[in-house]
Assembly symmetry: C2
Homo-oligomer: 408 residues x 2
């Protein structure tokens, strides 16, 4: 029998009826001949309620106590899920992060997994039981409860799949899988049968927030094959793995859009070595994540530097740049209105020229002005007016025939 | 500095405001120069909600999973209490039952404590912190979460006080302490300054349900001095200990009333050795707790047996007696309407005659008919018409001058 790790997020276990539905799905998986390890999140809303209580008591709550509090959410779900399985005749047992020996560093609220012992999971599986493990939580070597931060339950599932040598890890979520573009925007967007880790990272880190990058990176590093699929239907999802069969043929896998960026433009900086370094060091110190970066030399030997940041970081970025300009004694900073970043992603473009040209041409023909361009090995991104973002996604999707042919 | 263990029940921590109020009280205790270890219950309503969810999924939930679920309630409170203390500048750290090394047997939902290691409580105290321990829960030697059943948080507090050699254990509750009688019934009932463990056991196991017997028994066995007091005011409560100073002088300490009993009368049983044994073995097998028992020989060599049981057990008692009567081939059973058991309690009555006479005389003068009598070393109980229970309590209270003189 092959082992499957199945992860169900907060919306999939939000109430007792949904917990029952997930239990039936687990039972079906078992009846197909699989050993099943289940990872669950807190019921949706529970974590937010706990955080709200904590902040009401103390606006800047101690991370250790916050972890003690938050771990409650998943512990509730695992016990309820075990009972829901018992109710339909499936032997099941729950395990906290500590009991599953998910050992982490002591960085509370953003702990990193250092080792997974598994506790007695293998013995329980051998005894014919489904094991339900609390996601999002671990334990330090001295027995302190830790949590992993956003997307932590995905990480638990993928790390457990790795530690237990499971044949497959299924991430059940509220979307059907990974699409060539956002189906709400691009009418003929198609679900992809397979994507590579790198493509998933590029697609997931933008508009189609299926998973946090961290879990995908862990899967890539440890070679864990996983599937993203819906908990609300039985459609096959998207398999994510290292290399996919059609890799040679497909240039662009999908189009991603991020409408939550602003453009920060710094002009008239002194054009001397280290200027950019000083700017970005200041931004890093201010905990600002910088995305696309463009530098060019303006008239009169001064440098112009432009980059994009998440709109949430705009204020901190402005302050950080302001202070560095003061130190330089020259320069002005301006922050744009919200812009959109549109990216085409595909492992295949490594070996194909002409992708950039095709994209730029298609946008130009539709009258969409490109404000910034940045590229990586498997991605080309452009910053454009946010009002044209959906148009740009549709145009790019058509330009690479993503809706027409079988892209997987 | 002397160490105090303070226990706060579910109503004392029901919402964030009450948690803040408890935090201030803990701070005051610290400012009086004490090291403080705090034990808290789940917020009132939480445990009931969790049990309701469990039963909705599976009417007869697995005890192990139920424990996993219920432990959540106290874990939530400890973290919130720690944060409430941080908010007023008190260093504090929370510990689950497992982290406090409260080791139990594996009898889920009614586990018994076998050992308290304490974890790092002493080190945290030495580092100047208040330690908040989750009540009601422990851990087996193989890391399974267990709970103690009703009154479990009191047990945690008393057991911790014993293990940590605390000078005092304070049980904060929604009553002021132990009274000579129920103040709602007996207008001049007085709060007792001190009672012995045995008196507490007799008083608490009846009408004035301040604490479960189990915790008092543990305290008695391990010599843990504790105080029962209100979490809603600063009045001194009642100290419970082995021997109290006024023991020689006071005959009766208090009057307790239990209005939830019925009388089971079996007549015309064969009068032969083993009859009563068979009856009570059957009742024990049916999990019926029998309270007062009277047997006498009726006319014609047949035995009559009468006893009282909690009204909740009446049906099971009737069935159990019915089956034993069938085996005997003779006997009839009748179950009374609800009756009241009124008890006078006091360690002093061991060495004083005349207590029974005084009680019976007082009841007779008030026209209250006694249906059954049972006695122990420190208690005389009578079963009477439930309609006269309050009258009986007042008469007995007066007969032993409990309201008039300083009884402590």
């Amino acid at each position: 029998m092959s082992m499957v790790v199945q992860k169900f997020g907060g919306t999939s276990v939000a109430d007792l009826d949904r917990i029952r539905r997930v239990a039936r799905r687990i039972k079906e998986t078992r009846e197909q001949g699989h050993d099943v390890v289940v990872v669950v999140s807190a019921r949706s809303g529970v974590t937010n309620r706990l955080v709200a209580d904590a902040r009401a008591l103390y606006p800047n709550p101690d991370a250790r106590e916050l972890d003690m509090l938050l771990a409650v959410g998943e512990q509730e779900t695992i016990a309820l899920m075990a009972l829901a399985l018992h109710a339909i005749g499936v032997p099941a047992v729950s395990r906290t992060g500590a009991q599953a020996e998910i050992v982490t560093d002591p960085e509370h609220t953003r702990a990193r997994i250092v080792r997974i012992g598994g506790g007695d999971i293998q013995e329980q599986i051998a005894a014919g039981k489904v094991v339900i493990v609390a996601g999002f939580q671990g334990v330090t070597t001295i027995g302190q409860t830790t949590t992993f931060g956003r997307g932590g339950s995905d990480l638990t599932a993928i790390a457990l799949a790795s530690a237990l040598n499971a044949g497959l890890c299924q991430i059940f979520t509220d979307v059907d899988g990974v699409y060539t573009a956002d189906p709400r925007v691009v009418a003929n967007a198609r679900k992809l049968g397979e994507v590579t880790y790198d493509e998933m990272l590029e697609l997931a880190s933008m508009g189609s927030k299926v998973m946090q990058s961290r879990s995908v990176e862990f899967a890539k590093k440890h070679g864990v094959l996983f599937e993203v699929r819906s908990s609300f239907n039985n459609n096959p999802g998207t398999i994510v793995k290292e290399e996919i069969s059609s890799m040679e043929d497909v240039v662009v896998r999908g189009v991603a859009v991020d409408k939550n960026q602003v453009k920060v433009a710094i002009s008239d900086l002194p054009d001397q070595p280290g200027t950019a370094a000083r700017v970005f060091q200041n931004l890093a110190d201010a905990d600002v994540n910088v995305d696309m970066i463009v530098q060019n030399i303006g008239r009169g030997g001064v440098a112009n530097l432009t980059f994009t940041v998440s709109i949430d970081d705009a204020y901190r970025a402005e302050r950080a740049v302001g202070s560095v300009i003061e130190q330089f004694g020259s320069g002005t900073v301006s922050i744009s209105d919200r812009i959109a970043k549109v990216s085409v992603v595909g492992v295949g473009m490594r070996s194909h020229s002409g992708v950039a040209a095709s994209l730029f041409t298609a946008l130009a023909e539709t009258g969409i002005n490109i404000q910034l361009i940045s590229t990586s090995e498997i991605k080309i991104s452009v910053a454009i007016d946010v009002a044209r973002a959906d148009d740009a996604a549709r145009v790019a999707h058509d330009a690479f025939n993503l809706g027409a042919s079988e892209a997987t």
